[in-house]
Symmetry: C2
Subunit: 344 residues, 2 copies
């Protein structure tokens, strides 16, 4: 594992993006998203995913210069077409627009069709929370999870984010509809570890804690069995209906890798309507109560989602941001190859 | 089990509510909610819960004549105080208001504080779907579920509903954050059955499929373990923040039984912005794709949430609505006792 400074990561990624033809501003913005996701401890959706972004650009999954367009609007609601542009740029713009609209409309929504993978879902929740606005957002994905009771992966894991701003630290819930992410299964398989609870099916159709068997069958388990299955479907249909965009079924049918997703960004400026101090008092009481839970025998203290973010940022700023060595070398090689091309 | 006609159930419940002092219009509206929930097959939140409603009235948990009041508004967003009135009346009014607001604002939200149990969450999703509007709604509850990794039930099971209207049949996802409802555990315990998967902890702190052991420990399992736990917290904080209402922690601290809940009703009139036929085409494709899933060995065909509603209604209209005999006798006795009081 390499431990790199946040700034040097940003610089290197921006260099790569410039070599890929991005103008300085979007290159810097994208580099910041990748680097910051790693800085905040979400390594699977940070720098480690950057080579995938480069290959998506090369394959035409992501259209470098495409930018979103507003195709319909009514009051606090806008529908955008992402035109297959870079997902994180479109997502930050959509969240920013929903936040802005919420100041005058109370609640606002930007629904985006034909966008691309936004990396870490929670990032846009933090974006809202830092603007003092509550947010609820979700995306669909390609098919990667069977419905409860089914064998073939026709549902997406469709992550859902809830963000609640709070002076003493926002609460940002960021969860996919599968019990485990495929990335988590890969890590467990590499480490030769079993999952703590069943995470999917083996080829014979039995529930298993063996990550390798699930990777082989591609039959991952919905979180909460029938519950995650139903919620995944609901989020998919909602995202497609609100944006008149693709459903998981349509994304799956595309011969190119996962692209053209449907995403929904809802922002609520409750602080524009209500007494901020009173709301914070309510939230503080709930958090203190939760943290006072008695842990199970031998268990750790209960934390709330988002609680460890500041600590992780501080630690990674001090000790360096962990980046997989092979991934980093790939990125450096890519830059070297593309600079040579430029010189030729 | 009794099998009663839908109309006779409504009449009897309206009679009871009149005896409890309700005016004819709210009595008829409430009777319809209880009877219809049973008609649609959600027996735990229909007639079988009516005696609890009567006892809640008698204990002052529900204030019969209290009606909601708008305390703040901005654009498509309103905050209401339910003043501890009957939950289903306030919920139907809040959903109707959000639907009306969505026609001019695209997206709209009514957040309600100090309301009471709304019975079946999905009812208000169907209300929106029948008006051609998408909806997302949730409530908090009293503490009934430990956080993942904790022993004491400090979280609510906080049901969440997603409703997507569709010409060929709406999709309404209605789920609580616990893997099983306590009502379901009670039924399984009575039948001497084990749960198909672990549903909570026994007194010794071990995961168990024994419903009786979980009823005894009151340590029910969040759906998806850490996922249902996080989502429950997020929904609670969101509901309390948007309404400046009570959190689960505050509801738990009230010496009276569960009351003063926070609820959020979001409506999106996407049909006002987009081409209805095109959206329906997208949704139909996704549903057909899902229904084409290959069932697991020996499994049943895959269905979507809401699919069996029409069939259940038809069946119960033809054969009578199943009502627990003891419950029904309680209701009849209550009416007899209160009519006597009136005469005295």
């Amino acid at each position: 594992m390499l431990y790199l400074s946040f700034d040097s990561i940003k610089q290197t990624l921006a260099t790569a993006l410039a070599a890929a033809g991005f103008a300085p501003a979007p290159a810097a913005q994208l580099a910041d998203v990748f680097a910051r996701n790693s800085l905040e401890g979400v390594y699977s959706h940070g720098v480690n995913r950057f080579p995938r972004f480069l290959s998506d650009l090369e394959q035409g999954v992501i259209l470098r210069d495409a930018r979103p367009e507003t195709v319909a609007s009514l009051g606090g609601m806008e529908v955008w077409d992402g035109h297959f542009g870079p997902g994180p740029l479109t997502a930050e713009a959509a969240m920013a627009r929903a936040i802005a609209l919420s100041h005058t409309h109370g609640i606002a929504c930007v629904a985006v069709r034909n966008t691309n993978h936004w990396l870490r879902p929670g990032r846009y929740g933090w974006q809202a929370a830092e603007a003092g606005v509550a947010a609820l957002l979700f995306t669909n994905t390609s098919g990667n999870m069977p419905a409860w009771g089914a064998k073939d992966p026709r549902l997406g894991n469709n992550p859902l984010v809830l963000a609640i701003p709070r002076k003493k630290g926002a609460v940002v819930v960021d969860l996919a509809m599968s019990q485990f992410a495929y990335g988590k299964l890969e890590l467990a398989a590499l480490a030769g570890e079993q999952l703590p609870i069943p995470g999917g099916y083996d080829e014979a159709g039995a529930l298993t804690t063996d990550p390798g068997a699930i990777l082989h069958s591609q039959r991952i388990l919905p979180a909460g069995y029938w519950k995650g299955s139903a919620l995944s479907l609901g989020l998919d249909l909602m995202a497609a209906a609100l944006s008149m965009g693709r459903t998981v079924s349509m994304i799956r049918a595309d011969p190119l890798p996962e692209r053209g997703l449907s995403q929904v960004f809802v922002a609520v400026d409750f602080r524009g309507l209500l007494d901020e101090a009173q709301v914070d008092h309510l939230l503080d009481g709930a958090i203190e109560d939760l943290l006072g839970s008695a842990p199970v025998e031998g268990g750790r203290p209960i934390r709330y989602p988002g609680q460890r973010r500041e600590e992780t940022i501080r630690h990674n700023l001090e000790h360096g941001v962990p980046v997989n060595e092979v991934t980093w070398q790939k990125i450096l090689n890519w830059i070297a190859a593309h600079r040579e091309e430029e010189i030729v």
